[in-house]
Structures are given as C-alpha cells and as structure tokens.
C-alpha cells in the first residue's frame, strides 16, 4: 500500500510516460476536482430518483454561485433545478415542507453564513420533527453549501458552523475533504431519510484528487458516521475534518522526515461522530491533536477531547489532548491577519512537537 498521502496532487510516472509517448492512457485513476465530484454526484442522484430536486440562489441559470450545479438546469429544467429569491428563511422552510410531503430536496446555501437566517427551519422544523411526531413525519432534506473560511471575505462570510449544527440531535452533519468524500457523502446524504447538513469548503472546490474506478461508480457511497484513516501512523493521532485534513497530511509528511509518524484521521462526519475510530487510534499512538478551522470554544475538538476522557482511550494518553483551531476572533480581512487566524501546517507541527515533548 502506498504510504504517500492520497490527496496530494502528484504527477504519476505513467501519466508522464503517456504524455511523452502521446498515448491515450486509461489505466491511471483520473484527477477529479471536488467541484466536479459534487456536480457528478448531483447529476447521478437527480437522474436516479425523480423526487430529488435542487433549490437555492443562482443554482439554475447562473450554473451555481460556485458552479457546483453547472449544466444541471440545462439538463433537468425548471421543475428540478429552482432559482430562489434571496429569502433564506422562506426557501429553507419551503424545502423542509417539500420533504415532509414526500419530495427529496437539496437546499443550497450560498454559504453557511446565510443559513443563520434560516437556522430555525433547519433545527426546529427539520431536525426535531421526526421525534416530535413519533415517526409520523420524516424530513429527507439535504442542506449543503460552502462552510468556514474563504480568502479575504471578512468576518461575516468566514464562520464555521460544524459545532452549531453538530450540537443538535435529529440532524446528521457531514464535512467532506476530498473528491471521494464529497461524492460519496453527498450521495449518502441525498439517499438518507433524515435531514443532513453537508458542510463543504470553498477553497477545496478547485482541488483535484485521484479517484479510483470504484469511487466513480454510480452507487459509490461514503457511509455517514464513519471516519477514514487517511494516513496510518504510530506516534500520534491527528483528527481533523474538511480542508485542515490536507494540512494535517502536509504536517505528517514534514514530521515523517524527523521520524515522527502521524496517524491522520479524516472525520468525514461530525454527527454522529465516529469516536470508536479515534479511540482505537489513541490506544495505538497514545497522543491526540485535533485540528479544525472553527473557533475553539465549544468546538469539534472540544467535543472530541470530552468524549475521549469518557472512554477507554483516556488511560492510553501519555499527554493531555491538544486542540488546533481557528483563532478566537472574528475573521480579519488583511492577508497577514487572516493567515494567522487559520490553523497552518506550522501550527499543527508545533502542537505535535509540544504534545510529544520534542
């Protein structure tokens, strides 16, 4: 098995050979951006089940604010791909109502910052209804869009909502990193009979990943509630979700040169969280660093630390668990300030060395 990180873009020797020989090459796994992976998944699920439809701002005729829904309106038309006015609370409620009445809507938030206007519909109307009705009314809706930081968009457009949505029973919350994650989790979310919040990341949309033939199949699903070990290791466990997973892998590559082998876990799902995978890893490595883009207080890392203390893995820790997070401030605009508010590779390396006392 290759020990190099999966998702880091590397030219394959055979691909280069093909270019030199000017031969068409089919055996290599193709490079697919997260955007294209999402687009393909949407297309396939729209085709598979005619109850599925997409609504949101600019999703139809504009091809999507971030081009995730490119080409879909042309193919499926007004009935399945619906442009909404700028009315988050209204159209989110409409999506939830449509789900209650038997459709399977995908409700796109241009960014999750705007979902705050509609959060009552997500929590009180979507998440809680199956429970309040004792199973009479189910709400198979997907809320998706970019979450967390971008580049230079300022404080009101940079918040991470993983902790807020992850707090609520009745919701499922997923956070893809790679193209495989994006494709498989979106399909699982659409096919799930529950309200699912899918927290994508704008800066990942354009990043290409290799995708195997298996991951390209129409029924490839990434199960919700299961984390993935992106890189096995022995000295320390790094747990992360979304874009910081890539930073963890970069940090692991640097640390490997110094003889420190990091096990990098990609959470994939925020709720229900796969604590078992984290526990098993800690029982092997004895050290834990969590990495997330969101603010530290009451965040994903805080939850992981609390859960580890409650379980068997606590006794295996050689040092207190450490969290690497976004800085505890609203996001500033100036580049130098913004950079220092987002967890960087150097911050992860520093945290690892502090934990291992090296």
């Amino acid at each position: 098995e290759p020990t190099e990180p999966d998702g880091v873009r590397r030219p394959r020797i055979c691909l280069i050979a093909c270019l030199i020989l000017r031969e068409k090459h089919t055996r290599c796994a193709p490079q697919v951006t997260v955007r294209d992976a999402l687009n393909q998944a949407l297309d396939e699920e729209l085709e598979r089940d005619e109850r599925v439809f997409l609504l949101g701002e600019e999703v139809a005729q504009y091809d999507g604010a971030y081009k995730i829904s490119r080409g879909l309106w042309k193919k499926y038309g007004d009935k399945r791909i619906i442009d909404t006015p700028i009315s988050e609370m209204g159209f989110t409620g409409i999506a939830v109502g449509a789900a209650m009445a038997g459709l399977r809507p995908i409700c796109e938030f241009m960014t999750f910052n705007f979902s705050m206007q509609a959060i009552d519909q997500v929590i009180n109307s979507a998440a809680k209804t199956y429970y309040m009705s004792s199973g009479m009314v189910s709400v198979p809706v997907v809320f998706r869009g970019p979450n967390g930081t971008s580049a230079g968009v300022g404080a009101q457009h940079s918040q991470c909502f993983a902790a807020w949505y992850g707090h609520c029973p009745g919701l499922k919350v997923v956070s893809p990193w790679s193209s495989e994650d994006a494709r498989g989790l979106l399909k699982s979310a659409i096919r799930d009979d529950n309200p699912v919040v899918m927290l994508e990341h704008e800066l990942m949309y354009g990043v290409p990943f290799e995708m195997s033939e298996e991951t390209q199949s129409k029924d490839f699903l990434v199960p919700i509630g299961k984390a993935k070990i992106e890189r096995p290791g022995t000295h320390i466990t790094l747990v992360s979700h979304s874009r910081p997973v890539g930073h963890c892998l970069e940090a692991a590559a640097v640390l490997a040169k110094e003889g420190v082998e990091c096990e990098v876990i990609n959470l994939r799902t925020i709720r229900p969280m796969d604590v078992e995978t984290i526990e098993a890893s800690i029982m092997k490595t004895n050290n834990l660093v969590t990495v997330e883009g969101g603010w530290p207080q009451f965040g994903v890392g805080a939850e992981i630390c609390a859960r580890i203390m409650e379980g068997p893995a606590f006794n295996y820790l050689d040092a207190p668990a450490v969290r690497v997070t976004g800085a505890d401030v609203p996001m500033p605009y100036a580049k130098i300030l913004e950079e220092n508010c987002i967890p960087q590779v150097k911050d992860i390396i520093f945290a690892v060395k502090k934990t291992l006392n090296i």
């Binding site: 006015p85 209204g90 009705s133």
Partner: protein, 400 residues
C-alpha cells in the same frame, strides 16, 4: 301542510292555559315525539355574508345550501371540539396537562367549515392552536387528550404534546410562530410537483401575519404559482396585543399584495365553507396562491396561563358568545328552518359529552410512555445506535 296541522293540533291539545305557561299535555308530548325524520326538510338555503375582495372580480356565492345530514355532522363536530377544549381546560387546571395549552373554543367554524370544503387528500398545516384541526383531520378525541396528558396512547405517543400533533396530510401543530407558513408552501410545491391536483391549506394567526418569512413565502408562492391557500385566522389578538397595536394594516386579506384575497366571516361555518370552496377552485385551476382572512374569536386567553381579560373586556367576550357563537348560529339556523329539532340536537350534546368523558377517562388512565421512547424516532430508517442520557453511564438504545 303537515307541519301546520301538527302545530295546530299541538296548540289545541295544549289548551289556552298551557299555551301561556308553556306546559304541554301528555297527549301533545306523544304527538311531538312521534315526529319522524320525514318531517324535517332535507335542506335549506341560507344567505351568507358577502366577502370583502382584494384583486378579485368575483367572490364566493352569497347563499349556501345546507343539507340536514351536513348540518347534523357539522353540529356534532363543532360541539365535539368545543367540549374537548373545555375538557382540556379542566384537565389543565387539575395539573394533569402541563406546559403550553392553546385552546380553540370560539373558532370551531373555521376548522369545520374548512374541512367541509377540501378533500382528505388535500394537505393542511397550522400553528399551535391546533387541537381542532387535529380532530377534523381525522385524529380521535381520546388520542388528542392522551397526547395532552402525555400518555403512550397519545397521537404522538406522548412525545409531542399540545403543539406537535400530526395526522395523515396534517403537518401539525407548529410551535414557532410563522415557521409553518413556508412549510405549507413547500407542501404545496410538492402537490404541484407530483401533479395529483392536491392543494395545501396553510394557516397562521393575526400575530404571525407580521412575520418576515410570511412575506418571503407570499413572494415565492406567487412567483411559482403554488397551489396554496394562505389563511389568516384573525381572532383580534396576538397573545395580549390587539391587531391595532401590532399591524400598520389590519386588512390581513390584502397583505398578500399581489395575491388575491378575501375577508370571510369566520364565525359562520357556511361562509367559511363557501369561501374555501372558492379558494380551492382557484388553486386547483393553476392560478396560484390565494389568501383568506377568517374573522374569528377565541373565548379563552392566548394559552392556559393567560386569563384573557387584561387586554380585552369580559363584556366583549360575552357579546361575541351571545351574538356570534358559531355553534349557536348553526343550531338556530337548523331549528328555525326545520332541519333538526331542539331535542335532537340536545341528544347529540349528550352523546358528545359522553364521548368526551370516555376520552378523558382514557387520557387520565393510560400509562405514560416507557423510558425506551426517550431514544426512539431520532433518525428515520437507521440501524440501532446508542443515545446518551444525562451522564455518560446512562445510555439508551435507539431502536427505530
């Protein structure tokens, strides 16, 4: 002719003295009691109040035909809701019902008139003053009362409570003011999407009419021509705030602006029925949404914790009761037009009281839900998983 003969005979048998005191001799009683159903009219036509119109050339008809059968059914239904709500009041004061309890007595003509004009395959959603609709949409009284008392025989197994009752094609029961309005438009979107000629009736109160999301919904419903009847149940008070103190425009039927609207006498069941038939036809013909304002009144305060007399006078409440009560209105119409007799309706009253007593008996003796219910119905179609209790050692299994 026969009617006149019977009346004459009755008067003769009573004798002059009896006529003055109202006493009826035994013979007269026998004559009266032997009236058969053939003595009643099969139907009667009534004049109903003309609706105020907004952006409509024509409105609903100004007369309505009521058959004897319909009348008896509407009477029994309204009386059942009335007595059910009064029973809930009683149980709440006995602390057998807890939390929020928003009663519907006074507004019966709305839910019964509405249901008479739509099909069971149509959809309906309302806010928290929902017990009447839960009944008209098909839930037995015992299940409604048992839900209020938090028992396992409740329509939501005791997990929902007063504000969260559901039935087939009835989406609650919603606690957040105004949130049900976009939900209703979403249900209407599904109706249009599936193409089965169904509509959604989306109700909200005069208080909720000022919510921003309502206007967002009007916009999208009109834009996409959703088959949605928006209904504002204007009972003049949003909790303790009168409509004049809450709304710059109290013409709620016009607040949809580009959406046509009608203002309806919500205390007259026939008025509500005819207006709803009109509105349903509008939606089903693909013209898009329509808005109805039902002018109605609640006898109780906003909820059981509100006596309801700090912001309105007892005289006002009494006046509505004596002049506009929906059940009395129907009863008078039926009796005065020979659609039913006073005795017959009294018999229905007795029957209803008995049913409510039995339902209350069930609601107070049925056991509370088992603890396992705590962790069920979190997710739909999910393999069993563990649910955390108040501490890490208390774990429940989620079976469904």
């Amino acid at each position: 002719m026969r009617k006149m003969l019977l009346a004459a005979l009755s008067r003769v048998l009573q004798g002059p003295a009896a006529a003055r005191t109202g006493a009826v001799s035994e013979v007269a009683q026998v004559v009266v009691a032997s009236r058969t159903y053939a003595d009643f009219a099969s139907e009667a036509t009534f004049e109903i109040k003309k609706c105020d119109l907004h952006r409509l050339e024509e409105g609903p008809p100004v007369t309505a035909v009521l058959t004897r059968e319909e009348g008896l059914h509407y009477y029994k239904t309204m009386q059942t809701i009335r007595r059910m709500e009064l029973k809930a009041d009683q149980l709440y004061k006995q602390k057998i019902i807890r939390g929020f309890c928003h009663l519907y007595d006074g507004q019966e003509a709305c839910c019964v008139g509405l249901e008479a004009a739509i099909n069971p395959t149509d959809h309906l959603i309302t806010a928290y003053r929902a017990h009447g609709y839960t009944f008209t949409r098909g839930t037995p009284v015992r299940e409604i009362l048992a839900e209020l008392t938090g028992r396992k025989g409740g329509c939501a197994k005791g997990k929902g409570g007063s504000m969260h009752m559901y039935a087939k094609n009835f989406y609650g029961g919603n606690g957040i003011v105004g949130a049900q309005v976009p939900l209703g438009a979403g249900i209407a979107l599904a109706c249009k999407y599936f193409g089965k000629d169904e509509i959604c009736v989306t109700l909200y109160g005069d208080g909720a009419a000022n919510q921003g999301q309502v206007f967002e919904t009007y916009n999208m419903a009109a834009l996409w021509k959703l088959p949605c009847i928006f209904i504002c149940e204007n009972n003049r008070y949003g909790m303790g705030t009168s409509v004049e103190r809450a709304a710059a425009s109290t013409d709620y039927y016009k607040r949809g602006d580009y959406i046509p609207g009608l203002r309806v006498d919500g205390m007259d069941l026939l008025c509500v029925r005819e207006a709803t038939k009109f509105a349903a036809e509008h939606c089903r013909s693909g013209k898009g949404p329509i808005l109805m304002e039902l002018q109605t009144y609640r006898y109780h305060g906003h909820s059981m914790s509100d006596p309801g007399i700090s912001y309105r006078t007892r005289e006002e409440i009494q006046e509505v009761r004596s002049k506009s009560d929906p059940i009395t209105l129907l009863k008078d119409r039926m009796v005065n037009n020979n659609l039913a007799s006073v005795e017959e309706l009294k018999e229905i009253d007795v029957e209803v009281r008995k049913e409510i007593e039995e339902a209350a008996q069930f609601a107070t003796t049925d056991p509370e839900p088992p603890l396992e219910e705590l962790s069920s119905h979190i997710y739909c179609n999910e393999p069993p998983f563990e649910v955390r209790g108040p501490n890490q050692w208390i774990r429940y299994k989620s079976a469904c």
